[in-house]
């Protein structure tokens, strides 16, 4: 499993890979919003959690459609299915690689972008993204598995995945707003529970989706 994890991380990090693309998209959106909204720092600080969370989810989605499709098209997925690894293990490796190359870098970049919004609750934003982005990779993988054989599946993928990610965005942005208002933070544990459940259950659903596509 470690071999597959390293291969996917290496592919994402190299030229033409998805890691830099997601980061650049996240930075571009987060930079454009304050320019469009104007210099009202109070307003910017209020909308920052929502904007940064939505931008992070969309940036992570950019790389998701190729999660299985690239391996499906070049025949690697057949070899992975026949390898000593189960498809569930393959799914775990791919979800982990996706998070390590998109979710984690996005989280690390977020404090810098939060400054653009004059957001004071930077630690809360950082923690909420750290806890919540694994759910984006895990749920996204189910969509990637379902759409792997569809040409231009990348267009259908967000329609499947985004509604399922609504809880992550609600609890994630809610946790930051609660910290901003100095309220007790009930959203963060809920985000953690959602993320944990997604990470535990997704490999099975993802493997089932991949199996369905391979056998048709």
């Amino acid at each position: 499993m470690r071999a597959l994890l390293w291969r996917d991380i290496r592919l994402a990090a190299r030229a033409g890979g998805s890691a830099m693309l997601a980061l650049a998209f996240f930075a571009a959106v987060a930079t454009l919003v304050p320019l469009g909204v104007g210099a009202d720092l109070h307003l910017l600080a209020r909308i920052a959690p929502g904007i940064l969370w939505v931008a992070a989810v969309l940036a992570a989605l950019l790389a998701l459609d190729r999660l299985f499709q690239a391996d499906f098209e070049d025949g690697s997925l057949d070899l992975l299915a026949l390898s000593p690894l189960s498809l569930e293990t393959v799914a775990v490796a791919k979800i982990a690689a996706h998070w390590l190359t998109t979710g984690l870098p996005l989280t690390l970049l977020s404090p810098l972008l939060a400054v653009l919004f004059g957001l004071k609750a930077i630690p809360a934003l950082f923690v909420s993204l750290l806890v919540g982005t694994p759910a984006v990779s895990a749920i996204g993988a189910i969509g990637a598995g379902l759409t792997l054989s569809i040409r231009r599946g990348g267009l259908i993928l967000p329609l499947i995945v985004l509604p399922l990610l609504a809880p992550a965005v609600i609890f994630g942005a809610g946790a930051v707003l609660a910290a901003l208002d100095g309220l007790s933070n009930g959203a963060l544990p809920l985000l953690g529970a959602f993320s944990f459940a997604a990470c535990v259950l997704s490999p099975f659903a993802t493997a089932a989706a991949v199996r369905l596509n391979l056998g048709s």
Binding site: R7, G17, L82
Partner: protein, 193 residues
């Protein structure tokens, strides 16, 4: 021993073959022949357990469950499973690690790839890609080789190499089922679809 019993193959609602039965014993190779669209690739995918037959049973030794059977299969498909950004050496090392270790040097040498070790996949010719696939097949160490058009794009030396690899594999007690349009250059049974 690979045993195929009364297997019927459907593709898109169309019958490709009906009640197909054959056996391939340890140490022998079978060449699948037939015009385009007769179901050679589909049959190979069924043997590998990647595609379910409409009816019938496929057993390798005592194993009949599709996903279990797949763990005995060395696969050489239509596509070369090469990444543009990964070098030949990295590709083969990844595959070797996936299968639990093993030295990639001898397989690379055997496939005539030693000089290409540091070259990324995007610069390889079609024939060179096929050689990487052959090296990967050898590295898999699996007893049942399923090969889909292994000779396509290969030059004369490459074809001889592919035949030699299959001959060695069978001499060691392995089984090879090969879908092909060209003569393989080795002694084997033939099955026309």
């Amino acid at each position: 021993m690979l045993a195929v019993e009364d297997v019927t193959g459907l593709r898109g609602g169309r019958v490709l073959f009906r009640n197909l039965s054959f056996r391939v014993g340890a140490g022998s190779a079978l060449s699948l022949e037939g015009a385009n669209g007769t179901g050679k690739t589909s049959l190979l995918r069924m043997l590998a357990g990647l595609l379910a037959p409409a009816s019938g049973a496929i057993r390798f030794g005592q194993v009949s469950e599709a996903e279990e059977r797949g763990k005995f299969v060395g696969w050489l498909g239509h596509h070369d499973a090469l990444k543009a950004q990964m070098t030949v050496a990295e590709t083969l090392a990844f595959f070797a690690r996936l299968h639990g270790g093993g030295e990639t040097g001898p397989a690379m040498e055997a496939a005539g790839l030693s000089r290409l070790a540091g070259l990324p996949g995007q610069y390889l010719s079609a024939g060179q890609k096929k050689r990487v696939a052959l090296a990967r097949l050898k590295l898999s160490g699996r007893p049942l080789w399923l090969m889909d058009e292994p000779l396509a794009s290969l030059d004369g030396a490459g074809k001889a190499l592919a035949a030699a690899l299959v001959r060695d594999h069978c001499a060691g007690g392995g089984i090879a089922v090969i879908a092909t349009h060209e003569p393989l250059g080795l002694e084997c049974e033939r099955l026309a679809l």
